[in-house]
């Protein structure tokens, strides 16, 4: 008989109250229980970073956390980036403009890692990006365009902040 535990946590601005087994990883809770399949399971060993989400605004590997550890915490996934009307977040527009993806499998992890990075270093240099996103692997692009995308993303976010105030919206439909 699975030993389910009740947990309450914020996911993309919405409070979630559910029963999970302790062994349910955060990534599986997000994908299977909540249907948020944007976060990808690349290795389940904490090496590739495709599973990266924000936990309390910090880039975190969701394959190395159990959902039960997130009681009272706040999680943001890639689904939180685009606006309700579907228009892309500046970070997503940058990846589009600078061709920062090919198959797209690593991309959600890259986007969330970049979101964290830009929140701490608004205009990152190439060295900043290489150092701080070294935990996100890509098999397609060879990384050059990803670096260019993150640098561009910083520029676009700063531009948007300067003209329009806060971009990050609080609620996203599941």
């Amino acid at each position: 008989m699975p030993n389910k535990v009740r947990i309450t946590l914020m996911v993309n601005g919405i409070e979630r109250d559910t029963l999970v087994e302790p062994r349910t990883l955060l990534i599986d809770y997000l994908r299977d229980d909540l249907g948020l399949t944007g976060t990808h399971a690349g290795c389940e060993q904490g090496v590739c970073g495709a599973c990266t989400v924000l936990v309390d605004d910090r880039a975190t590997r969701s394959c190395l956390l159990f959902a039960v550890q997130l009681v009272g915490r706040s999680v943001r996934t890639v689904e939180s980036l685009a606006a309700n009307d579907g228009s892309l977040h500046p970070i997503q527009r940058a990846f589009n403009a600078k061709h920062g993806l090919q198959c797209g499998f690593c991309t959600p992890g890259m986007l969330m890692a970049a979101t964290d990075l830009i929140s701490r270093i608004p205009l990152p240099t190439e060295d900043d990006v290489r150092e701080r996103m070294s935990g996100n692997l890509c098999r397609c692009t060879g990384y050059q365009n990803i670096i260019a995308s993150v640098i561009e993303a910083g520029r676009l976010v700063s531009e948007a902040s300067a003209s329009a105030g806060a971009l990050v919206k609080e609620e996203v439909p599941a």
Partner: protein, 294 residues
Amino acid sequence: MKPAPFDYVAANSVADALDQLARLGADAKILAGGQSLVRLMNSRHSTPGNLIDINGVTDLDRIALEDTDIVIGATTRQRTSETDALVTEHIPLFAAAGHHVAHLSVRERGTVVGSIAFADPSAELPVALLALEGTVLAASHSGERLIAAADFFIGPWQNALADEELAIEVRIPIQPRRRSGSAFLEVSRRHGELPICAVAAITTLDEAGSFAEVRIALGAVGDRPVRARSAEQKAVGLTPSAETYAALADSTARDLEPISNLHGSAPFRRHLAEVLTKRALTAAVADAQESSHA
């Protein structure tokens, strides 16, 4: 693969954690950062029946200078330690080693004490702890005891803790201020990976500029981090020079019995040990000579 089923309990204090360990010890693991443990649980290399989560024990999230030791509590994140003013000032070797651990997002979750308790033979923090002659404070219902680094790592991924013991904190003596320097070097296949060879060196000079004390600790060259005791003894009284470093590095490498695996053969690790020891001694002496003039 997904983790096998387990029961989960969140400890809210050290006493609570020790109670749980006393009750469940043999079939329980401590969950702190989880960056090593959960990986093993995902592949079912580790299948504890119980996890005792200590992330809520805020008393253990601390870095302090107590007498002449830097004390780092069990839930202190690696990234916190790496950038902490007390650590970078008093035990710079530990901060230097910390920069090499995995990737930023792993270090923001993983804990210093967790990495040490995990006792990976290739990991950086155990090497630094061994060089700095730190100790682990272990607690259980029976009481507390201090375990010296040299006695703590007893085999590959094996530490000296009993089933019902919790590693509460590590205590690391502060490095000498004057005429002493240190360096941490490693070689890995890619940035962020475990090293194929890691060397930590601390050199302290006497007033004449000769070696008063040398410590050389190596990782990824055995089933646990090791000290080059023979080379360390030979160094005392010698004059620092390129020839001396070469001789000490040669002696260090000869005394090793490196492992051989997919990531590096024994001869390769022995070669890296010699090269890195020479470079680490050179850098540590330069650091020591700079501190002599400070």
